[in-house]
Amino acid sequence: MRQSLSRVAVPALSLLAGAVIWEIVGRNTSPAFMVPFSATVAKLAELVRNGEFMAALAQSLGLFVSGFSIAVVTAVPLGVLFARVRLLRIGLESYVTMLYATPMAALIPFILSLFGFDFGAKVLVVFLFAFFPILYNTVEGARSVRPELIEVARSFRSSEWGIWRDVLIPHTLPFALTGLRQGIGRGLVGMVTAEFFLAASGIGRLIIVSERDFDTAGVLASVLLITLLGVLLMSIGRALENRYAAWRGLDR
């Protein structure tokens, strides 16, 4: 009983303390630096009421979903193909690792001068941010597929599709989902970065415009919104990952 009480009470108290500290700090500093929690929440409510938030959220999500889904439908099949064609994997693996470790943000100026700053260019940014974590992790899964399993499947005259369905995909899927979760995180960074540096749009635009107007409440409210969005998308990713994580240990 005491245990379960602390499970609920401690986080609640801690969140309350955070809000109180925020309120006190906000009241005692210049509004250009920090505004109280209550003012932020009021601003949040106002932006929700006049529809600005919904519009910004829809714009940002549209961008994220476009780039991210292209990354998923290209990276996952490519990664599974690596499991099937060993030479392809060996040839490309180290380059995938290299691009995975390269900060894609550094490519934004090139994208700006080559592809402009409209929707397509922004989708490309989100895609580049999300693609390599997904591919990298799927390849990791591809490496874990034992050649003997494919041999056995072939000995039993399994069709090519059968090998994919029963061996390759089940083995690589858990890893691909880890990649998907990482890709969600990186894709969100790509989304905000693209909205900052290419044509300003969505939540990114809301943040920038508020900052230029020294509207600290607006900045904090937008950051709060994007944090909620991040938490929501990440927990979807984590739930998917955990759902299929059990497959990972399969016959290893």
Binding site: L15, M34, L88, P103, R143, V192, S210
Partner: protein
């Protein structure tokens, strides 16, 4: 398509292993496609492999480039060290003490899930358009990845180890330094790897945003003035740093944590 089905003997071609030959051939193919594709379809200022190669000597010997590279990489290293110290302390406390975990869970997970570049405008409000703002972004980007992994590591310490230590009357400090820290090291290293990537992105985006001297700004400036080859040399340095951290961590894991085998593929 029997590439995998046949257990083939490891081929050796011209003294190189089969894998090295495959890597070399794919690498050269990628570069050739890039070069030819750009010559045929892209405007002249677009970076091409030969152009980049020719730009390397002048770029890496220019003081401007060296200053920029030093400024960025040194800031990232300092920020990572700071985040490592703070993140490990907070993470281990969260992993070992349920009260701390419950109190900080929502903050750490929430701020970890938030795309860190979103705080840039806020950080510039607080620190101005300065080096301090860049440092704050780096630490912010790196801290939560390290804290979360350190907490996972501390939680993964097998309870039997602690029980055995207790039965032998080990003191608290010995349990911490002798068991909890080493047992969570692999997780911590995974956290550092993640954090290094995030710190690098945070640093570059901060330089774009604040127009601070550094590789990010060097890339921005040179690509705007159509010096794409020079700008790509800077990208190569950043990529090399990223790969370097990756290799360093793999080496540390193999050298100092040979008992840790997770994630090793069955080649």
């Amino acid at each position: 398509m029997t590439a995998i089905a046949e257990p083939r003997p490891r081929g050796v071609i011209l003294g190189l292993s089969e894998g090295a030959v495959a890597k070399l051939i794919t690498g050269l193919t990628i570069l050739a496609v890039w070069e030819v594709g750009c010559r045929l379809f892209a405007p002249a200022y677009v970076a091409r492999p030969i152009g980049i190669l020719l730009a390397i000597p002048d770029t890496v010997s220019s003081a401007k480039f060296l200053d920029a590279a030093w400024s960025t990489l040194w800031a990232v290293v300092r920020g990572l060290v700071l985040a490592l110290v703070l993140g490990t302390a907070v993470g281990l406390a969260m992993g070992r003490k349920p009260v701390v975990e419950r109190a900080l869970r929502y903050y750490v997970n929430g701020l970890y899930a938030m795309p860190m570049v979103a705080v840039l405008p806020l950080v510039t409000l607080w620190f101005g358009y300065t080096n301090a703002a860049r440092m704050a972004t780096i630490v912010f980007a790196a801290f939560f990845a390290i804290a979360i992994n350190a907490a996972d590591g501390a939680r993964a310490v097998p309870p039997e180890y602690i029980e055995v230590a207790r039965s032998f009357r080990a003191r608290g400090i010995n349990i911490w330094l002798g068991i909890a820290v080493p047992a969570s090291l692999p997780y911590l290293l995974a956290g550092v790897r993640l954090a290094a990537g995030r710190a690098l992105i945070g640093c570059i985006v901060a330089e774009f945003f604040i127009s601070l001297e550094g590789l990010g700004f060097y890339i921005l400036f040179n690509s705007r003035t159509f010096h794409h080859n020079e700008a790509l040399v800077a990208v190569l340095v950043l990529a090399a740093f990223g790969v370097g951290v990756e290799m360093l961590i793999n080496w540390v894991t193999r050298r100092f944590l040979p008992w840790y085998r997770r994630g090793e593929g069955g080649e």
